[in-house]
Symmetry: C2
Subunit: 339 residues, 2 copies
DNA sequence: CTGAAAGCGCTAACAT
DNA sequence: ATGTTAGCGCTTTCAG
């Protein structure tokens, strides 16, 4: 495990009595070098375990083969799925992935952005925090990037996400179609693009007659506050007959609280979840939930970025929003008083 | 989103009528520079959005602030948990994480290692594939690294993992103590260090009288073959009364198959799982499983590596193997004929 | 206190 | 077909 000096082209050149440029060219498969010399060089390089110095190449203008991925938290399956999809695509094209967690903290985000810029990443896939520092934005704009899942208006005009509004309205509509009239919404902060859209989707269905007491906006990352919010809802004088959740963490929190209180789902309360993690099918009567194509969107996102890097040109603004689909299991039913 | 030229120390120097070296020193808080000049420089740097070029610094011998993390698959919660722990530790110390997926393929692994070396990572945390190429090993040895979870004898003599053997024997013992005598083992390949140890732990309890027909070693990543293996077991003339699983993926496969066949757990079959993901508690009667301190181990691992990088010296060989603990839920019970 | 210059490893233009 | 040279952005002598 000693960190010995790295082998350079010069080492190879000296051992072979060649000039560094000849070695460099041989390694670059330059046609002007004789086949014999090239083979000798390649042989020696392999023997010494030569690996080119990317830093030096980059100083010569070579673009790095690193893509930055900025997510709030890889512990969240949502984002680890994305990271997985990304890593797959990237390594197929010879790129590597720099993983950055923002923890949804703007200062952390700024530090990470600085790190990426300093490291000369070729491009960035970013899930922006709710309210990025303007410096982060300025720096990110220096580098090709795409927005993933969330969008911030001052960042790239290209984004890949899910149709948050459509997804939530589909979830809410499912409950309304079953006959629910008091449908609660538990989601993220509306100042996040996603939270805003999801809430809009809920309102699309619930309409003007919605009871503000049935709505809770929960800060990201805290599944405990989701539990508290649900608890308040259930303890209120006029509790809901159904709940839609609008984020993975909130869904987890809600399920925990429902378990802890032994709420009879769907008899006492119908629930529609957000996202479809492995365990959701196992929960209680099976969680009816909105399955989301995170893997697919992440793949599309990285493919686009890779292609964009190849073009090295500008691209037209656009935003792709892929829909989800309702996976009906046992957690939703006709409301009690209707039966 | 245009990728404009990056701001260099030279840009700052020209605009301020200073030399690059003065600027460089000012930015490095060199005491020889007058406070006034330093402030002017810092001011200008902020104004232009200057971010130092890490590549250039590395050419001057600066060590990179990047740690490589090589895992089979971040889609696996096991590893995404680790990635999360790592990213947390690292960013706290100003390091970044380069995420590499090997897909448990040795050629892929080699390509990733080359990428890391080329990118001059400061250190590597590696979960080696079952049978790495010797070139991968040679290259990895050039850089400070630790083995994580799995170990390969020719790599670093330092490793952080879980006590695979102890964990499996605890799981198996739980079943034997309940009175089970036909306990099946479904685990990974024994040529993986982990698979080997886990199987050994099983044997520690089951002893010589173990029935080879009750054992299946399943290649990594394929949860379908875990289902098949379980199916064969259940359809055999003399089926087991209990099953221990010895990998996350296998556990998932087993749970799926049990659901599909509507096996009555724990009446017809007791099950002990491996690892404790969120959903496991929700499954059927609740999965009794071995909870593993992956997060803690990953944290310890990264702390060690960071410290090791600071020392820049050699370290004594050691391997830490943290134990798990049995989380008893509803999937295990006294065997049917005993009741 | 500040400037000039060298050099890290590599590549590309310019010689042989 | 191969060698020489310059320069990428930064730090670090060595000079003023």
């Amino acid at each position: 495990m000693r960190s010995g000096k790295r082998v350079t082209t010069r080492d190879i050149a000296e051992q072979l009595n060649l000039s560094v440029s000849t070695v460099g060219r041989a390694l670059a498969q330059d046609s002007r070098i004789s086949v014999e010399t090239r083979h000798r060089v390649e042989q020696k390089a392999a023997e010494l375990g030569y690996v080119g110095n990317q830093a030096a190449r980059m100083m010569r203008g070579a673009s790095s083969k690193v893509i930055g991925l900025m997510v709030p938290d890889v512990g969240n399956v949502f984002y680890s799925t994305a990271a997985h999809a990304l890593a797959q695509c990237m390594s197929k094209q010879g790129y590597q992935v720099m993983l950055c967690e923002t923890s949804d903290d703007r200062d952390n985000e700024l530090a990470q952005v600085k790190g990426m810029i300093a490291g000369q990443v070729a491009g960035v896939i970013v899930v922006p925090t709710p309210n990025p520092r303007s410096e982060s934005i300025r720096l990110l704009r220096q580098v090709p990037h795409v927005q993933f899942l969330r969008t911030h208006p001052e960042l790239a005009k290209q984004s890949f996400g899910i149709d948050d509004r459509g997804v939530l309205s589909e979830a809410t509509r499912h409950l309304r179609d079953l006959g629910h009239t008091r449908i609660a919404y538990l989601g993220g902060l509306p100042r996040l693009s996603t939270g805003h859209q999801r809430f809009a989707g809920y309102l699309d269905v619930v309409g003007d007659d919605h009871d503000p007491d049935l709505v809770a906006h929960i800060p990201p990352g805290a599944s405990d506050s989701a539990r508290d919010a649900l608890a308040r809802l259930l303890d209120s004088p006029n509790p809901p007959s159904a709940v839609v959740t609008a984020s993975v963490r909130v869904t987890e929190g809600v399920l925990e609280e429902l378990d802890a209180r032994r709420v009879a789902v769907p008899r006492e309360l119908s629930v529609v979840g957000f996202g479809d993690q492995p365990g959701f099918g196992w929960w209680g009567p099976g969680l009816t939930t909105m399955a989301l194509p995170v893997h697919e969107v992440a793949t599309a996102c990285s493919m686009w970025l890779l292609q964009r890097l190849g073009d090295s040109g500008r691209s037209a603004p656009f935003s792709s929003n892929t829909g989800g689909y309702l996976r009906t299991r046992g957690s939703t039913a006709v409301p009690a008083q209707r039966r």
